[in-house]
């Protein structure tokens, strides 16, 4: 296990690398499976709270504000695959073990048209890093249907899995600040 130890000049142990791996078996939650199935068909869906009307994408199976249950049968809605960029981070990948990225890239929060919350950590495509700004109108870049697994992708139900590769500018004028100012994250 200490096969990558480094020593000081007088032979004392200085650093010892200890690689640890844990394997997790992810069981896609029941609520997320239908979300994944619809993504495979090219549809972004959510649940609309029957009490407050907020639309959750992806759906959680309940409204965390009203604390009431939501179901695919009663509360399913379809939202657009276009939206507004509300926040972003440029990442400079450190080359740790397992790192796949080599170049700087950006992840953004996207407020989809028809949804009441942003989707975080979406890859930004086809936009120079120094031109990213709040309010950019974006559209989803879908993976080829054959590449969509139909599972939710994220076991906690946050993302689009392998159905959507990222978002790119749609070419529309920037959105008015009022349309997204309550959704900065």
């Amino acid at each position: 296990m200490a096969d990558r130890a480094t020593e000081t000049e007088d032979g004392r142990l200085k650093f010892m690398q200890q690689m640890i791996s844990l394997d997790y078996a992810i069981r896609v939650p029941v609520v997320s499976r239908e979300f994944g199935r619809r993504l495979k068909d090219g549809e972004i869906s959510g649940h609309e709270c029957p009490q407050c009307g907020l639309v959750y994408v992806p759906p959680r199976g309940f409204c965390p504000i009203c604390v009431v249950e939501t179901t695919w049968e009663q509360d399913a809605v379809t939202v657009s695959d276009t939206g507004t960029l509300t926040s972003w981070t440029v990442l400079t990948p450190i080359q740790y073990h397992g790192q796949q990225e080599r170049d700087d890239y950006a992840l953004a929060s996207i407020l989809l048209d028809g949804a009441d919350g942003t989707i975080g950590q979406q890859r930004l495509l086809d936009i120079p890093l120094d031109e990213i700004r709040m309010g950019v109108r974006v559209e989803a870049v879908w993976a080829d249907p054959s590449e969509r697994s139909g599972e939710s992708g994220d076991p906690r139900g946050y993302g689009f899995g392998d159905a959507i590769r990222g978002f790119r500018p749609s070419g529309e004028p920037d959105a008015d600040r009022e349309t997204y100012e309550k959704h900065t994250l």
Binding site: L22, D23, A25, R27, P29, V30, R60, I65, E69, P155
Partner: protein, 351 residues
């Protein structure tokens, strides 16, 4: 000290390989605990939760769990990376401040996503124990051997604990393992790590639980038979098992003394004994007489969701007073290898 009582308890059934998120598992449990308390959400002045992100392999997973509580408008809350019993302790301390009167405690754990023996290795110290992959089974077996050698018990004593626990669990709809099994049949099983057999260890369980605490007279308005916390204390043994006398549990003994277990007769004790021999060590450390009913729920040997099992023990000790007319019960929670850390809570009814 301000009188604080448990007024409601709810739990999800212990099971393996659940197909929900922790948050989805918590949502009905938290709702049920609040509904049973008779309180409104806005009456709850403090919320504290216990869970471990390692179990689901997702950093900050505990933050998402707050969605199960309806945390809007924003609530006052805290989290411990420990069993929910320690979250209850923090909530009890918080209620001692006197400015809030009710607290929600909840905990959750999905233990079945990874190899639990590997995951729990990582709680050991990273220099001496973890590189050995000294997993909970191996460490528990060391303790079991030390206990048997020091106290003149044999493996039959361990099998008797297992057989009794499974029989009692037949009456517990939340148990994962239950049923009649003979001591001889258990002893015919092979060892996994001597002197322990598979039956001496708990199942790998996913689960969630929630408890509502209310301070003062309001507890009697919230609940017909509240269980008053008359003593609560937690202590820790040294991290490194090699410096301890593993045949006993000094920290459990000290916590029991500080919580006042000996201050009156104990009718029922719910002990967080994850391995069969731990029940025998804890009986002795807590000074429980032979006539004390131990783990009428079946205990952790019959359902053991990590981070939840200790809080369930306190909840089951509450139910003995609230539903079964008992007067004085003890709830115990443990953490770490070989009963390294122990929490003891003495509950009393009103009558």
């Amino acid at each position: 000290m301000r009188d604080v009582a448990i007024v409601s308890f709810a739990q999800a059934p212990a099971q393996s390989r659940v197909e929900t998120t922790e948050t989805q598992m918590l949502y009905p449990v938290v709702n049920e605990a609040i509904a049973r308390s008779g309180l409104e959400r806005r009456d709850i002045g403090f919320t504290c939760s216990g869970s471990a992100d390692y179990l689901q392999g997702a950093p900050f997973a505990f933050v998402g769990n707050l969605e199960a509580t309806g945390a809007w408008p924003p609530i006052s809350e805290s989290h411990v990376e420990m069993d929910g019993a320690w979250a209850l302790y923090e909530a009890w301390v918080r209620l001692q401040h006197g400015d809030v009167d009710a607290a929600l405690v909840f905990s959750s754990g999905i233990s079945s996503k990874a190899n639990l023996r590997e995951v729990l290795c990582l709680q050991s110290d990273p220099y001496y124990l973890m590189p050995l992959w000294a997993d909970p089974w191996s460490l528990a077996a060391l303790q079991a051997r030390a206990f048997l050698d020091a106290n003149g018990h044999d493996e039959r004593s361990l099998a008797e604990v297992v057989a009794r626990s499974r029989r009692l669990a037949s009456g517990n709809p939340n148990a994962q393992v239950s049923g009649e099994v003979s001591v001889d049949d258990l002893l015919a099983e092979p060892h996994v790590v001597s002197p322990l057999r598979a039956s001496d260890a708990p199942p790998v369980s996913d689960g969630a639980a929630a408890i509502v605490l209310v301070a003062g007279e309001a507890a009697r308005e919230a609940c017909e038979h509240p269980a008053w916390i008359r003593g609560i204390d937690h202590r820790a043994d040294p991290h490194y098992p090699g410096v301890r006398d593993l045949s006993t549990s000094a920290s459990a003994r000290q916590a029991a003394e500080a919580a006042g277990v000996a201050g009156g007769p104990v009718e029922v004790a719910e002990l967080h004994a994850s391995f069969s021999h731990e029940e025998l060590i804890l009986r002795d450390a807590l000074g429980l007489d032979d006539d004390v009913e131990v783990n009428p729920s079946g205990g952790p040997l019959c359902g053991n969701p990590m981070m939840v099992s200790g809080l369930v023990r306190l909840g089951e000790a509450f139910r003995q007073i609230n539903e079964h007319g008992k007067q004085r019960t003890v709830g115990h929670a443990a953490s770490g290898p070989c009963l390294q850390q122990n929490l003891v809570c003495v509950l009393e009814g009103d009558a």
